[in-house]
């Protein structure tokens, strides 16, 4: 049986003229599905409107506040790890780019020892960098705004990176180059 447009009229709550109302009534007399729909729909809607909103257990906001600090700390940790991982990925990519021309002539052992050597150099450079930063931090008055700090640190980090790269190039095994 074709239920249209009667089903649509019922479900969308369309305003019907007397002729349409008569048509609908005629259809309802012969169609069990639409009759069921027409009977259930207002009751179901009434039920939905009458159902009160579910309430959370008491202390919901406090539980959220308690978890907020932990979530913030976890997010910071994730950010730090992602920065470290990105830095290492960039470093590795630069290293691979550097050895790429000689890759066919270098043995795996040489590449590996060179990589370890570079990592150790990097770690020692960073440690020295940390010590230098400590001296600098002790010497600078705390009244300098955060934005200046961030800018100075960024410039310092970029210079350090360039320094480490240059150091890597200087320390690269020259005897193995053509």
């Amino acid at each position: 049986m074709n239920h249209q447009p009667f089903e649509r009229w019922l479900l969308d709550g369309a305003a019907l003229n007397p002729a349409q109302q008569a048509q609908l009534q005629k259809h309802l007399n012969s169609c069990k599905t639409c009759r069921r729909l027409s009977c259930n729909l207002p009751r179901m809607e009434q039920k939905l409107f009458a159902t009160p909103p579910a309430q959370p257990r008491s202390g919901f906001a406090q539980r959220f506040q308690n978890s907020l600090a932990a979530r913030q700390a976890a997010r910071q940790r994730r950010q730090i790890w992602s920065m470290i991982f990105s830095g290492l990925s960039v470093g590795l990519a630069i290293y691979i780019y550097q050895i790429l021309p000689d890759l066919s002539r270098l043995s795996i052992g040489t590449i590996f020892s060179s990589l370890i050597n570079n990592i150790l150099t990097l770690i020692s450079s960073l440690l020295h960098l940390g010590q230098i930063s400590n001296y600098v931090l002790m010497g600078i008055p705390p009244s300098i705004p955060l934005a200046v700090w961030v800018s100075l640190t960024t410039v310092f980090l970029i210079l350090s990176l360039i320094w480490v790269l240059a150091l890597g190039r200087i320390l690269a095994p020259k005897g193995e180059k053509a």
């Binding site: 069990k32 729909l41 179901m44 159902t51 579910a54 257990r57 907020l68 979530r71």
Partner: protein, 198 residues
């Protein structure tokens, strides 16, 4: 704190004041939790989802467009999270109406009232469980929050015509699943048998 305290709390929260955000959580905990509860069907999952929704709101607060209603934006985050949860759950093949009941009844209610409440909750869960995630979200927003089709569309990232079609389909599904008047006699039959029904 002046004419609209909510707006003031919102301003402070956007500037990074966690206490102001806690006020917003206090204010909106019921609508957010209710949406989660109606979507997911049990108290434990609803609590987790509501907490996660507020956390996401806290994270994205700087992106919140002040032209939009805050509750619409918040419920949009909640609805999207719940829809994702339901999709994951569907992959795990767990129907909504077989989830355990975990709701602790209000201790002030009589046993009869608790029993009636439980039956109603079960019936509601069964009804909403007939719907797909987006249809369910649209119905909840329509009937519990009195959202217009435009607001539902904005919250669920759908077009208005898609919302109309989803509401139409969902109403049909719910009405046919709501077995209050399973056998309704035709008007002609009723006249013949003088039935008081309908």
């Amino acid at each position: 704190m002046k004419a609209n305290p909510e707006s003031e709390w919102l301003d402070l929260a956007i500037k990074g004041d966690d206490d102001a955000f806690a006020h917003l959580v206090q204010t909106y905990q019921t609508p957010v939790y209710n949406l989660c509860y109606r979507m997911l069907g049990n108290a434990g999952d609803a609590e987790d989802a509501a907490q996660e929704s507020f956390w996401r709101a806290w994270q994205y607060l700087k992106r919140y467009d002040r032209q939009r209603s805050f509750i619409t934006w918040l419920l949009s985050i909640t609805a999207h999270f719940c829809i994702d949860q339901l999709r994951k759950r569907r992959l795990e093949l767990v129907p909504l109406d077989v989830l355990p009941e975990e709701d602790a009844p209000d201790p002030g209610l009589s046993p009869e009232a608790i029993s009636r409440l439980r039956d109603e909750q079960k019936q509601m869960r069964k009804l909403l469980g007939r719907l797909g995630p987006q249809d369910r979200a649209a119905i909840i927003m329509r009937y519990w929050y009195d959202f217009s089709e435009v607001e539902i569309a904005a919250s669920l990232s759908l077009t208005v015509s898609a919302v109309k079609s989803r509401l139409h389909r969902a109403r049909r599904e719910l009405a046919l699943g709501y077995d209050e008047c399973y056998e309704v006699p035709a008007l002609a039959e009723r006249r013949r048998y003088e039935s008081p029904a309908f």
